[in-house]
């Protein structure tokens, strides 16, 4: 065999190559091409993406029933407060033999009541980048797994809607194909917002004199103000409790106006409590008004005095059981909510 090959190349040497070295160059070039083609054919045949010197390559098919990338989603809570968003943990595993890059995950709602507004990372993670409603995993090497967490925030288009139906769509490229997968996510129940306000008036927003006595307050002369608490929500609530404390020098006066619930005052603790067993969503009849009386002392001259302190409220979403606890700003004689008398709170001498 060797003799044959030797004989063959000797004949060509003598007949062509000695006459013109361009023949030799031509033959060597053709040989190199043949070798390359053979290696390529072999690589494709064996589908070894990591063949040395060739680089990655894709097999000709992908099993869609068993894609190489597994993604799972876990929600921190099945109920959310719309302004707080929900924490989603994304677990992933590359079961394939090749790294997967640029994995895009989109969070979408399935009806018009809500839309996903934005995503926020829990912490800085090189693997994860966020853009609008899209999370992108940069690269998952073959055989590797991991998890990332993102906060998903929503816009509420329909204030009456309480359930968020949504899904996650993942997408990546492999073997020249775009692989998409849609995962339905557990519905979220939106915990309703309990709106509360406390305001002090001497004159109502419509211009009616409610309070009585000198304004600004005068030393030794009582000035009566009206305090209003109001609770409202688009959804039903239960066990709502407002409470506050009367500062020293402020006393509960006789005037009262209660549209719902029960009013109590403890003279020992000086605490005012308003309880509403049930609040019907969408109704605006949950309002308490009560009159308080301030008699400034000489020592309080030149001061703006507190009228109501430690104002807090609590309520439970009747649907989700989610509790709301919050504080409201202290009210004082400057009457920030009274646009007729705001700023007239400094005590002076008669």
């Amino acid at each position: 065999m060797f003799k044959i090959i030797h004989h063959y190349f000797r004949g060509r040497w003598e007949r062509y190559y000695l006459k013109s070295h361009w023949h030799l160059i031509l033959d060597l070039s053709l040989f190199l091409i043949i070798v390359i083609l053979l290696i390529a054919v072999a690589s494709l045949y064996f589908y070894r993406p990591s063949l040395p010197g060739i680089g990655a390559y894709a097999p000709p098919t992908v099993d869609l029933n068993n894609p190489p990338l597994e993604i799972d989603y876990a929600l921190a809570s099945s109920t959310i407060k719309i302004k707080n968003g929900n924490l989603v943990k994304i677990s992933f595993k590359n079961n394939g033999t090749a790294a997967i890059s640029d994995i895009k995950i989109n969070f979408l709602t399935t009806d018009a009541n809500f839309t996903v507004s934005q995503l926020k990372a829990v912490k800085v993670d090189d693997r994860l980048s966020l853009s609008g409603r899209e999370a992108v995993l940069a690269k998952v090497p073959a055989g590797e797994s991991g998890e990332v967490s993102v906060w998903v925030y929503f816009n509420q288009k329909n204030q009456q809607a309480r359930q968020i139906n949504w899904q996650a769509q993942s997408q990546y490229n492999m073997a020249g194909q775009v692989l998409k997968e849609t995962a339905s996510l557990p519905s979220l129940t939106v915990a309703a917002e309990l709106k509360a306000q406390a305001v002090a008036y001497y004159t109502s927003p419509q211009g009616d004199q409610l309070g009585i006595g000198p304004l600004p307050p005068l030393v030794g002369i009582p000035t009566d103000y009206w305090i209003f608490w109001e609770a409202s929500s688009v959804a039903d609530f239960k066990n709502i409790v407002f409470s506050a404390r009367l500062p020293q020098g402020v006393e509960l006066a006789a005037g009262r106006s209660l549209l719902a619930g029960e009013f109590n005052y403890s003279t020992s603790s000086r605490q005012i409590v308003w309880r509403i067993p049930e609040l019907q969503g969408g109704e605006n009849n949950y309002r308490l008004g009560f009159e308080i009386e301030l008699i400034p002392t000489v020592e309080q001259e030149f001061q703006v005095l507190p009228l109501l302190s430690d104002i807090r409220y609590y309520g439970e979403d009747a649907l989700t059981g989610e509790a709301t606890r919050a504080y409201l700003n202290e009210l004082d004689t400057n009457l920030d909510g009274d646009h007729f008398n705001s700023g007239r709170g400094v005590v002076s001498q008669p």
Partner: protein
């Protein structure tokens, strides 16, 4: 003899018609007008009809009879006294026009009746007048009569018989006379001056005879009021005195305290009805402080207050903001806030309480500040002195010296009409003017947001009757105890109810209920015990906006009608039904496109006995209140709150300030 008997018979027969027994109103302030023009114009008559007591010159009997009749027609309870001087007459009276009665009076004057000095000169105390001698020293005429006989006879014969007068006003009822001419008076006509003491004794004795003669002739019911420094000896014969130019220098030391002591003691001395008048004159019509001072001082007692121009010109119809206030009956004696434990009358900050308010007088010479403990009062909403009568709610006052103030008590609960418990209500009169400060009508005995009617009566002793409707149930209470309870619809119906009831001295005779929003427009009529008497749909029974109800006699047929306003979802068609549900009338209260529902109320706002219908958008429309008569004719329309407010309002009709005139109450549940 037969003629005499017949004359006596006629006199007995007609006596009651000649002398009306005047009945004083028991509410304050009591107002007097000292109006001494000899003629009264129609315009003046109309204006004078607003006063409670008029002192008119006797010449108006001849010159302005029609005007006096007009005054009586406009004010049937007015007391009118005929003015006549008790001790003098104008000189040359025959030269005066329109002086018919004085001229007639003058014709009967005997020359021996003039008051003279020792030189025989007639005595004058007032320009162009000469005085009479009221003593026994005056010479008798041919019939043996003296002036103290003649004057009463004239009053009885010429004034009382006219039928126009409730009494006579004797000007210058002095208890002495020596102050006029202390050295030369000759009352006994002996040509020698009388001693000062003898003159005064003779004068008071004679004057008293004149008053006694008058009383004997005119009878017990004919009012006699005197004017001048108060002389106690006359008072049992009089119904009162005028304290002119209060506090006058001549009265009891010339101080406010002295005059008030006199004023307050008179009721114990005078005959009933007691008609003492405090008069103040000031050329400045706008001296409101003086008006307040005088009026508030007057309110410390039972008398009448009068304010006019001058001692020589009493003839004004000046009306002040305080005059229009109805304080109601008095509820206390006057007391000094600066010395509450003492009843001694002295300069102070004096207060007297009335059913609907109070009067304050600062009779000291310094400004007084006072804080009302646990009291909320309201200033008058006036237009003459807005720095004082600005309508504000107050709990303290700073009152200038020699000033007075009328303050109103505040009502914070609607009585005798339905209201939503806890709503804020503004108070409007029929014309749409806001007459009092708004308030939260809230009764803690009932749930917030419940429909409530609170009433009281006295048929079986004092009782408080309340009715509430909430969560689909109606409850009736008597003196705080629940006496009846029923579900006007299905027991499962737990929604709001519209409520109306007919009240009769604290009793609910009929209870009318309408379903609230979410229910059908079904109206049901119940007895107070909860027995269903009738039921009907006021609108399409498929509607679910409920129906609002009111109950009153809107067509003056002596029977109650049910007025309905639709709930949300249909045009604002007001309907009037009989109690059995027969439609009597209907009309659109607002534009047909306004479909937010209409709240209704019905009650007599004009005092004509016929109820008006008041409507208000229950939601969706601006806060426009409209007043209709039974025929759907719009009588008034006004915006009760900011026009931009579209949250719905409700209406009710009740006399919240106790002035006898119902007001329109417009409520809203929240300010926001």
């Amino acid at each position: 003899m037969k003629k005499i008997i017949f004359a006596i018979f006629l006199a007995v027969l007609f006596w009651p018609s000649l002398t009306r027994a005047a009945v004083l109103k028991n509410t304050y302030p009591r107002l007097a007008n000292y109006f001494l023009k000899w003629e009264i114009s129609n315009a003046e008559a109309a204006a004078l009809a607003k006063w409670d007591l008029l002192i008119l010159d006797m010449e108006t009997q001849e010159n302005s009879r029609e005007q006096i009749m007009k005054i009586r027609a406009l004010n049937p309870r007015v007391i009118i006294l005929a003015y006549i001087t008790a001790q003098e007459i104008l000189d040359e009276i025959d030269s005066y026009d329109k002086a018919y009665l004085r001229q007639e009076f003058n014709q009967g004057i005997f020359s021996g009746w003039w008051l003279k000095d020792a030189a025989g000169n007639r005595i004058s105390n007032w320009p162009d007048t000469y005085m009479f001698n009221l003593t026994d020293g005056a010479l008798p005429d041919a019939a043996g009569k003296r002036f103290y006989d003649y004057l009463p006879q004239f009053v009885a014969d010429k004034l009382q018989t006219s039928g126009l007068w409730d009494g006579v006003f004797y000007d210058n009822t002095w208890g002495d006379v020596s102050w006029i001419n202390s050295k030369t008076l000759d009352l006994d006509n002996n040509g020698s001056p009388d001693s000062q003491n003898a003159a005064d004794i003779a004068w008071s004795t004679g004057f008293k005879k004149m008053l006694a003669n008058t009383r004997a002739l005119v009878g017990r019911d004919f009012i006699i009021v005197g004017n001048g420094r108060v002389y106690d000896g006359y008072q049992p014969l009089l119904n009162g005195m005028m304290l002119e130019s209060f506090p006058s220098f001549w009265e009891n030391g010339g101080t406010w305290t002295g005059s008030l002591q006199t004023y307050l003691k008179l009721p114990a001395l005078n005959l009933s009805p007691q008609t003492t008048v405090i008069n103040i004159y000031d050329k400045n019509q706008a001296n409101y402080r003086r008006v307040r001072y005088g009026l508030a001082s007057t309110l410390l007692g039972h008398g009448f207050f009068s304010y006019d121009y001058d001692v020589a010109n009493h003839g004004q119809t000046w009306w002040y903001d305080e005059y229009g206030v109805n304080l109601g009956p008095a509820q206390s004696r006057p007391y000094n806030l600066l010395a509450s434990s003492s009843e001694i009358l002295k300069p102070g900050l004096w207060r007297r309480d009335f059913q609907n308010g109070l009067a304050l007088v600062n009779s000291t010479d310094r400004k007084q500040t006072y804080v009302f403990q646990k009291e909320e009062l309201e200033k008058i909403k006036g237009h003459q002195d807005p720095t004082v009568n600005n309508g504000q709610k107050i709990n303290y006052i700073s009152l200038e010296p020699q000033d007075g103030l009328i303050l109103l008590k505040r009502s914070t609960l609607i009585k005798n009409a339905p209201f939503t418990n806890g709503y804020f209500f503004r108070v409007y009169n029929f014309s749409g003017a806001q007459v009092r400060n708004g308030f939260f009508s809230y009764a803690s005995a009932f749930p917030g947001g419940a429909e409530v009617i609170m009433a009281s009566g006295s048929q079986d002793g004092e009782v408080d009757i309340n009715i509430s409707a909430a969560s689909g149930q109606v409850n009736l209470y008597k003196n705080g105890q629940r006496v009846s309870s029923f579900s006007p619809y299905d027991k499962l119906y737990k929604k709001q109810l519209s409520l109306a009831a007919h009240l009769n001295d604290g009793y609910f005779e009929k209870v009318v209920v309408g379903a609230g929003p979410g229910g059908g427009p079904q109206v049901r009529v119940f007895s107070p015990g909860g027995k269903l008497e009738s039921s009907f749909f006021a609108y399409d029974k498929n509607l679910r906006g409920g129906v609002n109800v009111a109950l009153a006699d809107v067509d003056d047929d002596g029977r109650l009608e049910i007025v309905t306003g639709p709930g949300a979802g249909t045009e604002p068609l007001i309907k009037v039904f009989t109690l059995s549900g027969r439609l009597k009338n209907s009309f659109l209260a607002y534009d047909a496109k306004m479909r937010g529902g209409v709240n209704v109320a019905a009650g007599n706002l004009t005092g004509d006995g016929r109820a008006e219908i008041v409507t208000a958008p229950a939601g969706g429309g601006g806060p426009q209140v409209r007043v209709f008569n039974n025929q759907g004719q719009a009588l008034k329309s006004f915006f009760a709150y900011d026009q931009a407010y579209h949250g719905g309002i409700r209406v009710s009709i009740s006399d919240v300030d106790g002035d006898g005139q119902a007001e329109i109450l417009v409520g809203l549940h929240n300010f926001y």
